[in-house]
């Protein structure tokens, strides 16, 4: 066995390559530990998590859980940013590493993690590579290494399989379960060696693989010396690293002076390591974190079946014994020449063979998944018969046979459901069976930690805050609380606390009612209604952000800064500021302000800036109510200046953006007109200058033209005669210009509807205009006209109607009077209506 290293001075070392989430691998690791009975089990994993092993092994701790590693680079060893780093190392019941730990504990053997600490791995990796890649979640499990180069693609082509995962399932899971553990590990090692050979050296170096392997080899060698030649050591490492570790150790054994070199290690300060309850969804590779095999729910079922079989088996004579006994029996039969009376030798061999693979664990899992999906479907009132499920199982078996697999696996299960459970064309309307099956295959189990699990300081802060604010932190029943945030200081504090938790994505409290500053909705409400309850996810989320600070406030502050770095426009940065406002973050908020200022300066999108201005003004207005010490004046001023600079280029806006542009104009006009603020007032002149420039553009959108005319008229900078002239210009222009009249009015009425009442001759002109356009043109103008007149209040409409009626010698009441209908006519119409309805009803029933 080439994975075993022997030497006169050292313990015997057996290296087991593994894939991180694989039931067959876990199964064989379990068997190997039982078979070899080692004195020590060493496992790949950052060594600063060794203290967590007892908690991981505690009977109340339930998988899935993850080890959470964090590092705050305060000393700027990695970069000048002094950034925060974190990564996860998820464990499922069938993770070989966890099974190794559990089996070692059962056998009373010590087990340890032997990789570099998390910070050291970061130090050994180059920026942007390995665990320092820029992605949402970094994972310690590096199964992607086994399937990232062209090598496996060729393999899949050759073996008619669709993906690496299907290849793995066929050869290493399904067929692999029937193999002896020794053979299984040799196959995996061969595969890993080929992948390794196809990986360039610079990649290995950049990702820190070389440094880690050297360190692990060193740890193994040290332990082997310590335990002495009588002992046996079993080492479980990711398959990708095993060949390298093996090579290093072999070199060491042949030349003892040369202990594998390792990198210089940095102290464990500023590093955090905690256990985190995890979920199947998060573990599913399909969700994008490439943390191992897809469909964890399915493989969990397979693992449970395997364990069930194991229990039964442990009560029976071992399989090897059976086999030997079987062979001996056959042998004896031959000698005694009982051939004719006994089953043939082939039959006996077949029987033995059947015994080996009798544990049809995969088929059991496939069957269970199909039955559960059927159950789920029926609950959703889908028509699905038991016969459909039978057909699906038959299909799965048939496909397995056709594809040369011993049992149907995940891919046969999916294919079978697609074929037998989906009725009709596969589309959004019919895909429900597949969706439900995939949900089942992903699984919804959530992990749990025992009470001994260490918690980070942020978690203690959470409990302290809850005590301080008299909130029950551990109630699993939902509690509703109404907060008078504007009148009660403590209530405001609770609201701030809840908002901070929300921002940290800890699902503790949920706002049911209250003002929504982000959407600028429900601002009239003076109370907030929240519902809160404790769940494991709260702990998971808090541990997840523990790298950012030891208190909730601190973590929220750092995360705001981090979020801001991702934001690249004024709208979103101010949106984030509204959340800061709700969270009541005041300390150390200057950098946040600077960041927002920068995004505003860099933003050249008029609408984004206009939105930002609206939100900033709202915050400024609400400061008193929320008792906030934050200042927004400077940001408002900056935004106004930016908007004024951009204004002249906004003349030819698209139809759909006219309204927002008009809103922005009106807003700037109102803000710069405020008497109590000199700084704002100073912007008024540049604003009017910009408006004049806009007006000078002959191609200006009529709506904006009207809007600007209104503003200039309202501010007394333009005489009514100029506005009138502009109106006439449109009304009496060529046909195309005339059709823009309504849009012009819309803009004008938006900013200066009083113009209608002040200038008596305006209505007269409008009346003449209506008389001049023909019916078709009028109908075309009508929608925009309706919009234009919608800005008037009902009282004003009434007044306009009165004046319009007077132009035709009538009063406003006569406009409302309609001619009465004769009763007979009405009855006839009614009858006709019913008849039509009946006919349509009958026709639709026929079809």
């Amino acid at each position: 066995m080439e994975r075993v290293l022997r030497s006169a001075q050292m313990a015997e070392i057996t290296l087991l390559p593994v894939r991180h989430h694989s039931p067959a691998c876990a199964w064989h690791v379990h068997k190997m530990i039982q078979l070899l009975k080692p004195s020590l089990v060493l496992i790949e994993g950052p060594n600063n998590a060794n203290s967590l092993i007892p908690v991981m092994m505690h009977e109340d701790t339930k998988a899935p859980f993850a080890i959470y590693y964090s590092y705050h680079d305060k000393a700027q060893r990695l970069s000048e940013k002094a950034a925060h780093y974190k990564c996860y190392y998820p464990f499922l019941d069938y993770s070989p590493e966890l099974v190794a730990l559990r089996t070692a504990k059962e056998s009373g053997v010590p087990a340890l993690f032997i990789d570099l600490s998390y910070a050291d791995i970061l130090m050994a990796s180059k920026d942007g590579q390995g665990m320092r890649s820029e992605q949402e979640k970094n994972n310690y499990s590096d199964d992607y290494l086994l399937s990232r180069n062209q090598f496996w693609e060729r393999l899949c082509e050759q073996t008619n399989l669709r993906s690496f995962d299907e290849f793995w399932e066929k050869y290493f899971e399904l067929n692999g379960l029937a193999e002896s553990s020794d053979l299984w590990f040799s196959h995996l090692l061969d595969y890993c060696k080929m992948v390794r050979e196809n990986t360039p050296l610079e990649v290995l170096e950049g990702e820190g693989s070389l440094a880690r392997e050297a360190y692990m080899a060193q740890q193994i060698a040290k332990a082997a010396h310590e335990y002495g030649p009588q002992a046996k050591i079993l080492v479980v490492t990711g398959g990708f690293h095993t060949p390298a570790i093996q090579k290093l150790l072999e070199e060491y054994v042949s030349n003892k002076e040369n202990m594998p070199k390792t990198v210089e290690q940095i102290a464990t300060d500023n590093q955090g390591v905690y256990l985190l309850p995890y979920s199947m969804e998060a573990t599913d590779a399909l969700n994008g974190y490439a943390s191992g095999m897809p469909y964890p729910g399915f493989y969990q079922k397979v693992w449970e079946e395997l364990e069930k079989n194991n229990e039964i088996e442990s009560k029976l004579p071992s399989r090897t014994d059976c086999r030997v006994a079987g062979r001996m029996a056959i042998h004896t039969m031959e000698v005694e020449d009982f051939h004719c009376k006994l089953p043939s030798r082939t039959d006996c061999h077949m029987a033995i063979h059947t015994m080996e693979v009798e544990d049809f664990v995969y088929e059991e899992a496939v069957l269970a998944m199909l039955a559960q999906t059927g159950h789920d479907l029926r609950k959703k009132d889908e028509q699905l018969s038991v016969y459909d499920e039978i057909c699906a199982l038959t299909m799965a078996r048939g496909l397995a046979a056709l594809r040369g697999k011993i049992q149907p696996g995940a891919y046969e299960l999916l294919d079978a459901a697609l074929s037998s459970l989906v009725k009709g064309e596969y589309s959004l309307a019919t895909e429900l069976p597949i969706r439900l099956l995939q949900e089942r295959m992903t699984g919804n189990a959530k992990g749990k930690l025992c009470h001994k699990a260490d918690v980070p300081p942020i978690f203690q802060d959470f409990e302290q805050q809850c005590a301080l604010l008299r909130i029950k932190p551990d109630s699993t029943l939902e509690t509703e609380i109404t907060l008078s945030v504007f009148s009660n200081k403590k209530h405001r504090q609770i609201s701030m606390f809840f908002n901070r938790l929300l921002f940290l994505k800890a699902p503790f409290a949920q706002r049911i009612k209250g003002p929504n500053l982000q959407l600028k909705k429900d601002r009239n409400l003076i109370r907030e209604v929240w519902r809160y309850k404790w769940s494991v996810e709260v702990a998971a989320a808090l541990i997840d952000v523990s790298v950012y600070g030891s208190t909730i406030q601190e973590a929220a502050q750092i995360l705001v800064k981090k979020e801001l770095e991702k934001v690249n426009n004024a709208r979103n940065s101010v949106w984030l500021l509204t959340r800061v406002f709700e969270m009541g973050l005041v300390d150390r908020i200057v950098p946040v302000y600077e960041q927002v200022e920068e995004t505003i300066l860099e933003d050249t999108d008029f609408y984004s800036l206009a939105d930002a201005l609206e939100s900033l003004l709202m915050l400024e207005e609400l400061r008193g109510l929320y008792q906030s010490e934050l200042e927004f004046g400077q940001l408002v001023l900056l935004t106004i200046r930016k908007l004024v600079v951009l204004l002249p280029s906004m003349t030819q806006v698209k139809e759909e953006s006219v309204t927002s542009c008009m809103q922005a104009l009106k807003l700037i006009y109102q803000v710069t007109g405020k008497k109590n603020n000199d700084a704002f007032e100073q912007e008024r002149e540049p604003f009017f200058d910009a408006l004049s420039v806009m007006q000078a553009d002959p191609q200006i959108h009529p709506g904006l033209d009207g809007c600007i005319h209104g503003i200039l008229y309202g501010s007394g900078r333009q005489k009514s005669s100029v506005v009138e002239q502009a109106c006439k210009g449109y009304m009496k222009g060529t046909k195309e210009q005339m059709m823009k009249t309504a849009a012009f009015f819309r803009g004008l009425f938006y900013t200066a509807r009083d113009f209608v009442f002040v200038q008596k001759q305006f209505l007269q002109a409008l009346d003449t205009f209506f008389a001049e356009v023909d019916k078709e043109e009028f109908m075309e103008l009508l929608p925009e006209l309706r919009m234009a007149f919608a800005y008037f209040t009902p009282m004003e409409i009434d007044q306009i109607a009165q004046e319009a009626a007077a132009l035709h010698g009538k009063d406003k009441d006569s406009l409302m009077q309609a001619q009465a209908v004769l009763p007979d006519w009405y009855a006839y119409g009614n009858k006709l209506d019913h008849y039509g309805k009946e006919k349509i009803w009958q026709a639709s029933r026929k079809h």
């Binding site: 008619n160 459909d388 048939g398 056709l402 074929s419 989906v422 009709g424």
Partner: protein, 370 residues
């Protein structure tokens, strides 16, 4: 039947030797009455890397259906089971070809077919009578005219039902009892009037999703089938390969001694692919034409261009012909479609024409888009 005397020979004749070699060398387990094992059927349709040795000759089995291998496997297993197989999908996605390949491999015959139309009646599906014999001898087996379904049941072979959704729903439903009980009742024959299906019998139906509105299948009938949705080919390279394979076959059948041009096939495949998906290879959004942009259509456009080149163009492909044929294929139902193709040329092809070569010629031929 001599292959060369037919415009298009059935699959079992076209691939007679391959089928024979596979049948004779097959050592897998066969469902009753199947000509070969499911594994050999798979090899026949999806090809094999290693050639088969039979009677001193080597047979390389070419891949005949490109696209989705798992779908073919599911089809084979479905046919070995108790349910019928229904292939649904857009027109021109090779549903019929797949059903022919399956029938030829499994039953040795692909011509036992019901062609579904709006005028299909129940007796075309079950049986009708030879009235002269009926009058002379009364109702007897001799006077009965068997339908393909009847023949399938009697001999234990596959029956293909093309375009099932074109037939009225009540006619489709006559399949229900046959598929579930595997028995056909012929009351006219009295006590002998039961035809029990022999093992090996099954039905492969095809249905276009575009015809869905015409005659929706009843849910009772749907339950008797396993559905397989055949999607258009998802990669340009594969589509190019299909075009080349099909055109080669057509050219061979019609004695056109000319090799297809791979670059032109790639160009056409990418045009069809991009217009069908509504997005170009570099991510430009495109208006999708309403007409069917299937691979089969691309094959016919290509083949027409090839014929023009063969008879008029000294065996040289001309982009003008290609564009003209493209117009003929696109502008069928809706005038707007041509406008969409024009704007496709003005954006995507213009961009690609910068590469020069045939892309440039293709772009220059856009004047024929009218």
């Amino acid at each position: 039947m001599e292959q060369q005397s037919m415009i298009k020979a059935p699959v079992e004749i076209r691939y007679r030797e391959e089928l024979m070699a596979l049948e004779q060398t097959d050592d897998g387990r066969k469902p009753e009455n199947w000509r070969m094992s499911p594994k050999a059927v798979r090899t026949f349709i999806l090809g094999s890397a290693t050639p088969i040795q039979y009677e001193g000759k080597e047979y390389t089995i070419r891949k005949k259906y490109l696209g989705n291998d798992a779908l073919v496997e599911r089809c084979i297993i479905t046919l070995a089971g108790n349910r019928g197989l229904m292939l649904v999908g857009e027109p021109g996605t090779a549903k019929t070809m797949l059903s022919e390949l399956l029938s030829a491999a499994i039953s040795g015959v692909s011509t036992n077919t019901v062609q579904g139309t709006a005028g299909t009646t129940e007796d075309m599906i079950k049986y009708s009578w030879n009235y002269a014999l009926l009058l002379a001898k009364g109702p007897c087996r001799e006077a009965l005219v068997a339908s393909p379904l009847y023949i399938g049941m009697e001999k234990g072979i596959l029956t293909r039902f093309e375009e099932i959704t074109r037939t009225p729903a009540e006619i489709q439903d006559s399949l229900i009892s046959v598929l579930s009980d595997k028995v056909l009742n012929i009351p006219e024959l009295g006590d002998e009037g039961f035809l029990f299906a022999k093992p090996g019998f099954n039905v492969i139906g095809t249905a276009n999703t575009r015809d869905k509105g015409v005659n929706e299948m009843s849910s009772a009938l749907k339950r008797r089938f396993n559905f397989e949705t055949v999607m258009p080919i998802s990669s340009v390279a594969l589509e190019k390969q299909v075009i080349l394979n099909e055109v080669q076959q057509l050219a061979y059948e019609n004695h056109i001694d000319m090799e297809p041009d791979e670059d032109v096939a790639k160009l056409l495949a990418s045009t069809y692919h991009e217009l069908r998906e509504g997005i170009s290879s570099i991510g430009q959004r495109l208006d999708k034409p309403a007409c069917v942009m299937s691979t089969a259509e691309a094959v016919s456009v290509y083949y027409q261009t090839m014929i023009s080149a063969y008879y008029y163009g000294n065996k040289e492909f001309r982009m003008e012909d290609l564009v003209q044929n493209l117009v003929g294929a696109v502008a069928k139902e809706n005038k707007d479609d041509l406008e969409k193709v024009k704007s496709y040329f003005n954006t995507v092809i213009r961009e690609k024409s910068k590469e020069g070569g045939i892309w440039k010629e293709y772009y220059e031929a856009r004047r024929w888009l009218k």
